[in-house]
Symmetry: C3
Subunit: 157 residues, 3 copies
């Protein structure tokens, strides 16, 4: 690949990864379970510390259609993600960043969740998908903080 | 795969749209009414559910110079936008994302507003401008959530 | 520089600056003092209004290893940055945006700090680094708001 194309491709990869992650909040908060699931690979995993792991798109969609999330939506909620630091490595990538869940209590907006996130992504047929998302509340736990650490060595799939 | 220039243009378009939206918060919180208005087309609309519609740049600037916003600035405020999911379609685009308003009460920072946003944008003489921004509080209202939904069919201007 | 390359370079510059700023929160909240320091030039300055100035990488790293930040991490914290508005000017740039610090009190998440930020950056040997970051709480203070104002004239180094 000529240098120009490689540079363009790297920019497109970073743009596609950022866009994928930017779609999560709007899809979740509009209750679009299929859309959220489609951000993940078919065998993708969404692991929420202290809650469990959703394995595969049907399980991930069920997080959105499930009682917890539906109640949050009925209350009024916003899943707001922070900017992501992205390490690209060919056809795979790791992205790290924060997520907030804000909730309307009926009288005020409260900060319901503040979490660390580590996304693993891969390119599949020209499209980036999440293969795993780890999410853990930042309540002083070292394991949650570790999700935000850059890969110690270049990430290899 | 589209030729180099089309790929470069698409990246520039997305970058310009993201930059435009990233400018909103800093301009609003520094009281730059003209700057906020200039993000919009001359006949641009900023519609805030339950509050009203500002039609055109003068009306949009008046949102910043108005008593509500000036009081917020005097209190201490931050209009923080979440990442935007962007659908590009030639010379038009739709961007969706959250916005938060944080306010200093004199004793603590409170989450004053949590809203859904849908931006419609168009390219005009090589420059992207907002033609409409819809904003609605996420307090359990289905119409607010709907602002975050992706266009059902490819957006056409 | 041929047009294509200049356009590509401008996109890469903006991407590198956004990535640098996106790394700050994850590095800070995972306690990576060296990583945070390495975002800054060797003589970089991190100035926090009402707190003081950290001059140079060792002093900046000491903000992370210091008692205040370590206590925040032990409590549970998130340094979440908003999107940045970026003015590029050749080998220098200015970026403006908000930052939030969320803290777990043991019973709830509180909004601990809401601040305005102005970053000055320069390219050095193909790498962007922060030469200065100014941070000030948004509690009604005009000087804090001014950090969010766009450069009145094109920024020159």
């Amino acid at each position: 690949m000529p240098p120009f194309e490689a540079r363009l491709q790297a920019l497109e990869d970073r743009e596609a990864i950022r866009e994928l992650i930017a779609q999560y909040g709007p899809l979740a908060d509009s209750g679009n379970a299929e859309g959220v699931a489609a951000l993940f690979a078919e065998d993708g995993v969404y692991a929420i510390a202290g809650f469990g792991e959703a394995n595969g798109r049907a399980a991930i969609a069920a997080l959105i259609t499930g009682a917890n999330h539906q109640q949050l939506m009925a209350d009024g909620c916003a899943h707001v993600l922070g900017p992501v630091a992205v390490e690209l490595d060919g056809d795979t990538a790791v992205a790290r960043g924060h997520s907030l869940v804000l909730r309307w209590t009926g009288a005020a907006f409260e900060v319901h969740r503040v979490a660390a996130n580590r996304w693993e992504l891969k390119r599949k047929l020209d499209r980036w998908l999440a293969t795993r998302r780890d999410n853990a509340l930042l309540q002083g736990d070292a394991a949650a903080r570790a999700l935000l650490s850059p890969p110690a060595v270049p990430h290899r799939s």
